[in-house]
């Protein structure tokens, strides 16, 4: 079994490169999806059969025959499946300490970033990935039509004349028509690329377009690699302007799998916008986030309402509900006055909604509620849905819909109460599919009933 020997040898630094090359040629191109690269520099295509803590079992096709191989994970540099790369052991010379830390299998739960999960990447890997992704169009790009109102002024002047007109001015068209409509998001990107081609000789204009492209990929498509690419092309990584985009660029680095890069980027920024509070909290650093909140609170010219609101959100994400409530109440304590009255009012509104949500969904504990039947209602499809919740000895005994006008409810009327009973609360109860509005109304009404009971 020469193939077997080849693999065993190849795990060690290639002493006989010629042999490796000769044998690699024997590994025929197949439909295998995975590419395994070894620390030795050898790489081959195979099908991954299984993997445990120590070894990965693969199947390679050699001379037309399928051969099973067990490869120790310690010898693997990385595995590429479906364009996704899983770095098992970083290949570049890294300090011993760091290397052993990176050796463990990437986390498998949802603790990490939401995309490219588990693919903890090195700085160079991320830079390469951003470049590679950024230079290739997304898979939907070709099929997306270029579609914009014929009245649109494609010269996109910095200061458009006349009043607000979302059918004439590009920025206003994006703000009013593209951003609110998911169905227009791809068309919006297509239009922006079209503008970039039109204005590519005008340096200032093309920078502005590339910043907007980055925004679109980040905000609308959650495509962090391409967002980072276009922001880098626009120089956001060096100039940190606009600051909001710079914060989001840091977030892209984190989401792509390298928190350190994000932290380094944040530290380089001289003035830190409020968005950083949310990023710190999302990255699991509530202390950093709250420190930022406090520093803004000390600054008499700071927008305190906004900082407190973000602080409350940060605490809520971390599960620190009591502190979150304190922050939200601080938001409500900021008087609503000019300048920025509209913004303060909106912050008040959001703080109130968050307080209500915490009160309803996070803090209500059935065990502490006195026995009794509690009623509350919430708006369903056709009108209020009223439920009656019976609590006996600290347990929800029954949930009944007592009044409703719904027509299209399928099983929601029975299913959702059953789910609430099973979970003994409203947290984590999903709405019944196809009757979401009715189902959510039952959940909300139950939450309200329990919360009102808890207050008594």
């Amino acid at each position: 079994m020469s193939g077997h020997r080849f693999l065993r040898r190849a795990w060690f630094p290639a002493r006989r490169a010629w042999l490796v090359l000769a044998l690699l040629a024997l590994v025929q191109a197949t439909a295998a999806a995975a590419t395994v690269e070894l620390l030795s520099g050898a790489s081959f295509e195979c099908t991954v059969l299984s993997k445990d803590d120590k070894n990965v079992t693969v199947e390679v096709i050699m001379s037309g025959m399928k051969v099973k191989r067990v490869i120790p994970l310690s010898s693997v540099y990385r595995v590429t499946i479906n364009d996704k790369q899983y770095v098992i052991n970083p290949r570049s010379p890294v300090p011993e300490k760091k290397r052993s830390a990176a050796k463990r299998t990437p986390p498998t739960t949802s603790a990490g970033p939401t995309d490219d999960k588990g693919a903890l990447r090195t700085r160079t890997a991320i830079e390469a990935w951003i470049k590679e992704q950024g230079r290739t169009p997304p898979d939907w790009f070709e099929a997306t039509p270029l579609n914009y109102p014929p009245s649109l002024d494609l010269s996109w002047p910095e200061k458009p004349e006349g009043g607000w007109n979302n059918q004439k001015n590009v920025g206003q068209y994006i703000w009013d028509i593209v951003n609110p409509n998911p169905s227009k998001w791809r068309e919006g990107v297509k239009l922006m690329h079209h503008l970039l081609t039109l204005h590519q000789d005008d340096r200032a204009q093309r920078t502005r377009i590339m910043v907007e492209l980055g925004r679109m990929y980040y905000n609308l498509h959650e495509d962090h690699a391409r967002a980072a690419f276009w922001w880098q092309q626009a120089g956001v990584d060096k100039t940190h302007s606009p600051p909001g985009c710079s914060i989001h660029l840091a977030e892209c680095y984190w989401r792509l799998g390298n928190k350190q890069m994000a932290v380094d980027h944040l530290r380089k920024m001289r003035s830190v916008p409020y968005d950083a509070i949310k990023l710190w909290a999302d990255m699991g650093e509530p202390q950093q986030a709250l420190a930022l909140v406090e520093s803004i609170a000390k600054n008499p010219r700071g927008q305190h309402h906004l900082a407190y609101l973000l602080g409350g959100d940060a605490c809520r994400v971390a599960g620190r509900y009591d502190e979150a409530i304190e922050y939200y109440q601080k938001v409500l304590a900021v008087p609503s006055q000019d300048p920025g009255k509209g913004q303060i009012d909106r912050c008040h509104q959001r703080a109130r909604a968050s307080l209500e949500a915490i009160r309803l969904f996070e803090l209500t504990d059935v065990a502490s509620i006195a026995d009794g039947d509690y009623r509350a209602e919430s708006l369903g499809y056709e009108g209020p849905v009223e439920v009656e919740v019976a609590v006996r000895s600290g347990r929800i005994e029954s949930v009944h819909v007592t009044r409703h006008k719904e027509k299209q409810f399928y099983s929601a009327m029975n299913d959702t109460p059953a789910k609430i009973l099973a979970k003994q609360g409203v947290k984590g109860v999903d709405a019944t599919s196809s009757a979401t509005i009715t189902s959510e109304a039952i959940i909300n009404a139950t939450a309200k009933a329990l919360a009102s009971a808890a207050e008594k």
């Binding site: 169905s183 297509k190 056709e382 299209q408």
Partner: protein, 713 residues
């Protein structure tokens, strides 16, 4: 044609002769069932079965087969109407969410945990679709088979078709939570259509399409081929063998009238009329009248044809009760003049039984008249032999008044129910082929006082025909005068069900039976009163204030007996435009600058059409000219190429903004019909139409730019 020639066990043994052995079925029955049910052949004493038949009535005793047929057909009608057409047993395909993969073993079996098993069944061996969130969307992974359930965890095995690279990927990264479902993620729901198809082993409209008047008059009025003509021809063929057998054995309205006459009619005698009178031939004139109307392009036969009458009666009388009982009174649509008129007609039909049992069937029913005329071609008939002793029992029992005073047959009325044969003490009544004339009883003894076509008969024929002509003229004139306004720019056009024929053809093809109302979930379709004149009475129209058309349903076309609503497959129905949603800029809350509201948009997205998009209105700008975050409102904009006019948006706007909150007087988004707003194809594919339009749009679009600008190449 003597039945007992072909089925010898029916023959009574001759006195004194050796009794023939029991036939096999009877022997088997005697072995299984209690002895007491059967007659004792030695003594000739009847068994319990016959005693019981005698107890429920003489007609049961004399012709049990006919009564059982009647009961079965009424049962079938009620089953088709109240069970098959009842839409609310449909359930969406179950979905189970939040299954986090926690391990994958050497055989690629995946352990999922934390999911929710309450919705639907997730038994071992079941193969389901697995999907996972990928960015903002849900991406299909592939099919998996459930191996076993263990406490809160589920062990699944990827099916053959499951992509191998996903299995490989899972080895390194178990990824986010899975959603398991019986249908692929993002598949268009079809539970209402599937539910109806699953129950419809016999078409729900089966009894409607064998009412010959329905098919014939529709075909004449719309001047097209109506496929129910085939079943009408079939039943008329049967009627040659069993003349007017439809009325005696099948017609559920006849059976219902029998029930009414038995339970109520026989107790009230003050309205009884003489045996003979001017009314005995109404049915022919009514038939002539409806067919003449059809010839003039006005379809009124549905008002008086037997099966549509009982269908509408059940619909307006019992459907509200069924829906209210199962779903609550708020689901019952409001009752308009159309419903009252139909109910009055239904009760009038039943009430005619006070004048004489089955008065309607004998003298008025135009569907029966078709069979009466068909009787001229009969090959079998009732025959009275010369052993008749003039006991008059047959005349008394005949439910159709089809026996003359001389005991011979009124051949156009006899339904061959054989009840008279059952009561005849001398077995003088036989049911034989038409040309069997041996041992015939002498006719006109006792005298019948009937002349085949005397002066009186001729006069009544002339008067009836004249009445039919005048009636036809009156109806056609009234309909044309107070008919539907189909002129260009008419604002009162009703929104018709999806896949309806063009309005002119629709009005001449819709028989107004009401079957589509029954099959329509949430009663989106409701009968018109006189909004479209007399021509529109009882035709189906969308009442989107009450409810919107379910995206997964195509029931109305499936149950339509005449093809006025085409029986579109769900794929066709979902792109057939029945109308167009129009936003009222004066009243729409965000457009009028009153408050934020996106009920219609949410509704359209949830239904899967995504035909209403946002535009921001009233955006404020700061001193730099930049828009202020959160300023202004998002207002709805209807995309005419995607909107099919289902009306769900209108339902929601009406339910919340009008009925619940009272902030509007009427829905601010309304479905409108009319040229350019709906597609009404006589034939051909709606999908093809949509594809053609998409192609034209694509060709008109500007050419697209490239992805990378030159300076980055």
């Amino acid at each position: 044609m003597r039945l007992d020639i072909f089925l010898p066990f029916l023959k009574k043994p001759k006195r004194g002769s050796e009794p023939a052995p029991d036939p096999l079925p009877l022997r088997l029955a005697k072995r299984v069932l209690p002895r007491a049910l059967f007659a004792d052949r030695a003594t000739g004493k009847p068994g319990l079965a016959r005693k019981w038949l005698k107890w429920i009535g003489p007609s049961w005793q004399s012709a049990p087969v006919r009564r059982i047929c009647q009961a079965a057909c009424l049962g079938l009608f009620l089953w088709l109407f109240f069970y098959v057409c009842y839409p609310y047993s449909a359930r969406p395909a179950p979905v189970s969410t939040a299954w986090q993969p926690t391990a994958i073993d050497g055989e690629s079996q995946i352990t999922l945990s934390g999911g929710d098993l309450s919705d639907g069944s997730w038994a071992a061996g079941k193969t389901v679709y697995a999907a996972r969130k990928a960015g903002p969307q849900t991406a299909e992974l592939g099919r998996v088979t459930i191996v076993r359930q263990q406490g809160g965890t589920l062990i699944v095995r990827p099916a053959e078709s499951f992509p191998s690279e996903v299995i490989e990927e899972l080895q390194f990264d178990l990824g986010g939570a899975w959603t398991l479902s019986e249908r692929p993620a993002g598949a268009w729901p079809s539970h209402y259509a599937d539910n109806l198809a699953g129950k419809e082993w016999l078409h729900a409209e089966s009894l409607l399409i064998i009412d010959p008047l329905v098919a014939i008059s529709t075909a004449i009025a719309s001047r097209t081929w109506v496929w129910s003509l085939v079943s009408a021809a079939g039943i008329l063929l049967v009627a040659i063998l069993v003349p007017r057998g439809f009325c005696g054995y099948i017609c559920p309205l006849g059976t219902l009238i029998d029930l009414f006459d038995w339970s109520i009619g026989k107790r009230i005698v003050r309205f009884r009329v003489a045996d003979d009178g001017w009314w005995v031939h109404i049915k022919y004139y009514l038939l002539a009248g409806t067919l003449l109307c059809s010839l003039a392009g006005v379809l009124v036969s549905g008002f008086v044809a037997a099966i549509p009458v009982i269908t509408r009666g059940m619909l307006f009388l019992f459907d509200p009760l069924q829906v209210a009982w199962a779903r609550g009174w708020h689901n019952v649509p409001p009752v308009g003049p159309g419903q009252w008129i139909s109910l009055a007609l239904f009760f009038a039909v039943l009430g005619l039984g006070l004048m004489k049992p089955r008065f309607w069937c004998k003298y008025v029913c135009p569907s029966g008249a078709v069979f009466s005329l068909g009787n001229l071609l009969r090959v079998s008939e009732r025959k009275v032999e010369d052993t008749c002793i003039h006991c008059n029992k047959c005349v008394e029992i005949c439910p159709f008044d089809a026996i003359k005073p001389d005991f011979t047959t009124r051949v156009t009325d006899c339904t061959l129910c054989q009840t008279c044969g059952g009561v005849c003490p001398t077995q003088a009544i036989k049911f034989v082929d038409r040309w069997n004339t041996t041992l015939l009883k002498i006719e006109n003894d006792p005298p019948t006082h009937e002349t085949p076509l005397g002066r009186r008969g001729f006069l009544s024929l002339a008067a009836g025909s004249a009445a039919a002509m005048i009636g036809t003229g009156g109806v056609v004139g009234a309909v044309k005068l107070f008919g539907a306004d189909l002129s260009e720019g008419s604002t009162s056009l009703p929104v018709r069900p999806p896949g309806s024929l063009p309005e002119r053809e629709f009005l001449t093809a819709c028989i107004r039976c009401g079957e589509c109302f029954k099959a329509c979930p949430n009663s989106v379709l409701q009968p018109l009163g006189f909004e479209q004149g007399l021509e529109g009475l009882w035709t189906p129209a969308v009442n989107a204030d009450h409810a919107g058309c379910e995206s997964s349903c195509n029931a109305c076309g499936q149950v339509c007996p005449t093809g006025a609503i085409r029986a579109l497959p769900l794929e066709e129905k979902k792109v057939a435009r029945m109308g167009l949603a129009i936003v009222n800029p004066q009243t729409c809350l965000p457009l009028a600058g009153r408050e934020a509201c996106q009920l219609c948009v949410d509704e359209c997205v949830a239904a899967g059409y995504r035909a209403i998009e946002f535009t921001r209105v009233g955006t404020e700008v700061d001193e730099l000219g930049l828009p202020v975050e959160g300023s202004g409102f998002l207002a709805p904009v209807v995309q005419a190429d995607k909107c099919v006019g289902c009306g769900l948006c209108q339902t929601r706007c009406f339910a919340i903004n009008v009925a619940e909150r009272g902030v509007l007087a009427e829905s601010a988004i309304v479905i409108e019909a009319g040229p350019g707003k709906e597609d009404r194809l006589l034939r051909g594919s709606y999908i093809a139409l949509r594809e053609q339009e998409a192609l034209e749009r694509k060709e008109a679009a500007p050419k697209s730019g490239s992805y990378l600008p030159d300076f980055l190449d």
